[in-house]
Amino acid sequence: MTNPFLKHVNTKSWEWPVSLVSLLLGVMISLAWINQKTQAERSEQLPPDIRRRYIEGRIDLNELTKLSEEVSRLREENTKLQNAMADNSKQSKVLNESLQEVKMFSGLTDVEGPGLTITLRDSEDESSGMPEDRIIHDGDVLRTVNELWASGAEAIEVNGHRIVMNTSFRCVGPVIHVEGVPIAAPVMVRVIGDTKTLEGAMKLPGGVLDELRSQDPNMVQIDRVTKHRFKAYAGNTVRKYIKLPEAKK
């Protein structure tokens, strides 16, 4: 040892204490590690923006489309089976009719009928207003759908997604999510119902679309359609917490 500085250095004694604490640290890290089991619970505690990124990273869009198709096919088969069962007796026929009615009401069957197509586009006119006023937001779609229900719409579809009672619209960065599936502008809101009433509601001065129209008339386009055909809702219908109350005898 010719280095004069190294003479006074205690080179050995620090290793063991540090290693001891390092071992403890390893245990701590291991305890806080996110694994398959604690994943779901931990993600609930993440701040909303991180959680959103985390959840979105896990959605495989192709898989989702495939599974949705599978669900549609199975639901159709289910309807067929119910119909077949109903052929047996009159009683079950009545039952089946009311069942199909309920399914139609809740959006679980394909439906068709007259109505409107409302197309919402981002504005290309860059001369007026703020940039955020020139794009279609989740709120615009949400208010449009709400207004359509209020004016007697019987079935609504947004960019191919059937709107049912628990459909949600969210804004994630530049895209709108319908039930967690991103959709791109232009947003096509298709609706079945009384064409005149619906059109009146959509053109109401001071109505939901008026603001968009005043920004740029090209952002909103309303077309009458004599016959829409909507696919059945293909999302999750499993309910975990709600149960039918027991019937009183």
Binding site: T11, W14, E15, P17, M28
Partner: protein, 136 residues
């Protein structure tokens, strides 16, 4: 040298699943996570102090305990108050981890260069000595 603490860290991480303890759930796991960042910082600080020859047992152990508890408490308090205070701990400790690592790196680099330089000198001296003995 530095390998021993690293080895201990790996053993610590591996031993928990091996003896069948599951990772903690819920809020506790999050507080422990913040606390372990504090622990990483302290251990790196300890290694650095050791390399620089300034290591003291009492400072190191109290430092570890205090940092871990403070990080834990900050994260807990933040949750109670509805502020993401754990971010404060994460940012401060994260930047200190960077500082400590860079100092360790510099120390190792200097030592390596130093040993090379010394080896070169010794070779020169040896050859000089050899030449002087060869030509008396």
């Amino acid at each position: 040298m530095i390998l021993l603490p690293l080895l201990a860290l790996v053993i610590g991480i591996v031993i928990v699943p091996l003896i069948g303890i599951m990772p903690l759930k819920g809020e506790w796991a999050r507080y422990i996570a913040v606390a372990s960042i504090a622990g990483v910082d302290t251990v790196l600080g300890g290694i650095r102090a050791g390399l620089e020859g300034k290591f003291r047992n009492d400072v190191f152990f109290t430092g570890f305990l205090a940092n871990v508890l403070i990080a834990f408490f900050i994260a807990w308090l933040g949750d109670r108050l509805g502020i993401d205070m754990y971010l404060v701990a994460a940012i401060v400790l994260g930047s200190r981890i960077f500082t400590n690592l860079s100092l360790i790196r510099r120390w190792l680099l200097t030592k390596w260069q130093d040993s090379r330089e010394r080896a070169r000198r010794e070779r020169e001296q040896a050859s000089a000595a050899a030449s002087t003995t060869a030509n008396p």
